[in-house]
């Protein structure tokens, strides 16, 4: 039984059971008494409750899961998924952004370009990674290497995990808006397959900046949103401009993997191990790897022009509006 360093509020009942089990085990060991029956009972209860809890998480619960400090990050998955990985650095203009990692990886003997937001685990690394908030240099590094991938016919795999793009003055001065826009424009026409997976927080412009691809998946407990729910609640009078009503905004914003799948924003939800990716990174990695492998096999069969036409059409179709002049007078999906 993996013990995460921090329990989320909705995990309280599980925490209680785990503590009971531990207490019983300790008591049994200390007094030489057999409590295995009771413990087995508790374990069954734990499993049942886990299933119940984790298959009914609210959008706000999922937000907590997506931000869980133990959640595996891009470099964790890279280590688990790829046979080898050589990280490459720099935008050849200004700097190297540690909030977006990029490099050459080997997936089942095939070379791929891997890009992804990178958060930090401890205080020091968090600062170094700028909490996963990318600067213009990050997007420009990704662009430079994607152009190389295009020339060498190497597919791109992108991991999305960022609260938002860096917005402070220095990022503004170096054109964070331009960098995000140019990266999306490039990806929309890159002549090689692009596979995208949201593994944690898919945070607004910072996320979509490297999330234009042929296949978009989300891990079961990740979120993908135009704005953090708290931010939305703090701005909209709908939620009384009240930062404490983030759970309401989270629900209204439809940010979960299931929501995004239903709306056609993503192609697939990748299930997580019971209790979330952070309880079994290795198993999650296997599921991600299986998805990448299967999806790439399909994409490799497409002629490049068809690949690009499909990709354009995919994003072209996103949006819901009423077009009275359209042949069928109903909302277009």
């Amino acid at each position: 039984m993996i013990s995460p360093s921090r329990w989320l509020p909705f995990e309280k009942p599980l925490q209680d059971i785990e503590e009971q089990i531990q207490a019983l085990e300790a008591y049994a060991a200390a007094h030489g008494i057999d409590r295995s029956e009771k413990i087995a009972e508790l374990r069954v209860m734990h499993a049942d409750l886990s299933h119940q809890i984790f298959s009914n998480l609210s959008a706000w619960d999922k937000t907590m899961m997506a931000r869980h400090p133990n959640r595996p990050y891009t470099l964790d998955y890279i280590k688990l998924i790829f046979d080898d990985f050589i990280e490459l650095h720099g935008d050849r203009r200004f700097g190297d952004d540690p909030a977006i990692v990029a490099g050459v990886g080997r997936l089942n003997g095939e070379t791929v370009l891997v890009i992804g937001h990178q958060k930090g685990r401890d205080v020091k690394e968090r600062q170094f990674r700028n909490f996963g908030s990318a600067r213009p240099e990050g997007y420009r590094k990704a662009m430079r290497l994607m152009e190389l991938a295009e020339r060498r016919h190497i597919p791109v795999i992108a991991f999305i995990d960022t609260p938002a793009a860096e917005a402070r003055l220095e990022a503004e001065e170096r054109g964070i808006s331009e960098a995000i826009a140019a990266c999306m424009a490039l990806m929309s026409r890159l002549r090689t397959p692009i596979v995208v997976s949201v593994i944690g927080e898919g945070g607004s412009g910072g996320a979509i900046g490297i999330a234009v691809g042929d296949h978009i998946s989300m891990l079961e407990h990740s979120v993908y949103s135009v704005i953090p729910p708290e931010g939305c609640a703090a701005i909209l009078d709908t939620f009384g401009r009240d930062g404490t009503r983030g759970h309401e905004a989270a629900c209204a914003l439809k940010i979960t993997a299931a929501d995004n799948l239903r709306m056609g924003i993503i192609d697939e939800v990748i299930p997580e191990p019971l209790g979330g990716a952070h309880r079994n990174a290795a198993e999650t990695a296997v599921l991600l790897k299986d998805t990448f492998t299967r999806v790439l096999a399909g994409l490799h069969k497409l002629p490049t022009d068809v690949l690009l036409a499909n990709r354009y059409a995919k994003f072209r179709a996103l949006g819901q509006y009423i077009d009275p002049s359209a042949p069928k007078k109903k909302a277009k999906k």
């Binding site: 503004e172 234009v212 209204a252 924003i265 990709r311 509006y321």
Partner: protein
């Protein structure tokens, strides 16, 4: 913002400049293209006025004016807000586009309406921007988009975010067909709009003093509890930092656009034969 000590201004006749506080005679202000004669502050203006200022006499035909917003997320309050936005802006949505002639050059022209929910990019705005860019690509015409936006439309959530990718892809497609794309940033041009189609102009022009930035300065100051130096996130700041080509006063905008279009996209120019071939995808 308002100064309670001043006498109230009779609506319609006089208007107060939000920058220098001068009381301006509305007719005079209109003659001046809604630029303060005292401090050159450029007022936000409506789409009809903007179009009239830019195109050759009567040379604008709106397209797809019937597109109406849906409520893809069933977001609470959204429909009420749309009703209010429609009333305030006097338009169906926050963006209009159509065929225009500017200085004799057939152009696809799009204009954002900040009065409609802050020019936020919902599905209709994203769709119309995309259609404008695709029309330019398909008819081999230059596209001019006049931007004004507070960013994403939160009530459309992730669907709004996807408009960034959709419009950026349409920009890339327009450019791949060899056609010219000019952006005019007006006050304010920010967030998801700046971080997508607004930053991708071959030539980016901004009006003087316009707020132009990814996050507004107030947001940064509040979130980080810092004080920014004055003048950040303006058209002039962005010019200094290499992000835009020109800051052009409103009274010169038509001339500048006309020259750029007729120099860089004369009507007689044949389709670009050397550029990479665009794949038809519609």
């Amino acid at each position: 913002m308002s100064e309670p000590s001043r006498p109230s201004v009779p609506p319609g006749l006089w208007q107060k400049c939000p920058k220098c506080r001068a009381l301006l005679y509305v007719k005079e202000l209109e003659r001046n293209l809604r630029v303060c004669g005292q401090c050159q502050h450029h007022f936000q203006i409506g789409t009809a006025e903007r179009i009239a200022q830019l195109v050759d006499e009567g040379a604008f035909t709106e397209l797809d004016d019937g597109l109406l917003p849906a409520n893809p997320l069933d977001f609470p309050d959204y429909e009420e807000k749309l009703v209010r936005g429609r009333a305030k802006a006097g338009q169906n949505e926050g963006f209009i586009y159509g065929d225009a002639v500017i200085d004799g050059v057939p152009t696809v022209l799009g204009v954002a309406n900040f009065a409609f929910m802050g020019g936020s990019m919902g599905s209709v705005v994203g769709e119309k921007v995309t259609r404008a860019l695709e029309r330019g690509a398909d008819l081999n015409r230059p596209v001019v988009l006049v931007c004004a936006s507070g960013g994403a439309r939160m009530q459309e959530g992730i669907v709004s975010l996807m408009q960034m990718a959709k419009t950026a892809a349409a920009c890339a497609r327009l450019k791949a067909t060899g056609n010219l794309y000019i952006v005019v940033m007006t006050d304010p041009t920010t967030a998801g709009v700046l971080a997508s189609f607004a930053s991708l102009g071959d030539i980016c022009i901004a009006e003087p003093g316009a707020l132009v930035g990814f996050a507004g300065p107030r947001v940064i100051e509040q979130n980080l509890k810092i004080k920014l130096p004055p003048g950040t996130h303006t058209a002039e700041f962005q010019l200094n930092h290499g992000m835009i080509d020109l800051v052009v006063p409103r009274r010169e905008l038509r001339t500048t656009l006309g020259k750029l279009l007729s120099y860089l996209a004369p009507a007689t120019a044949a389709a670009d034969v050397d550029a990479p071939v665009a794949v038809a995808v519609d």
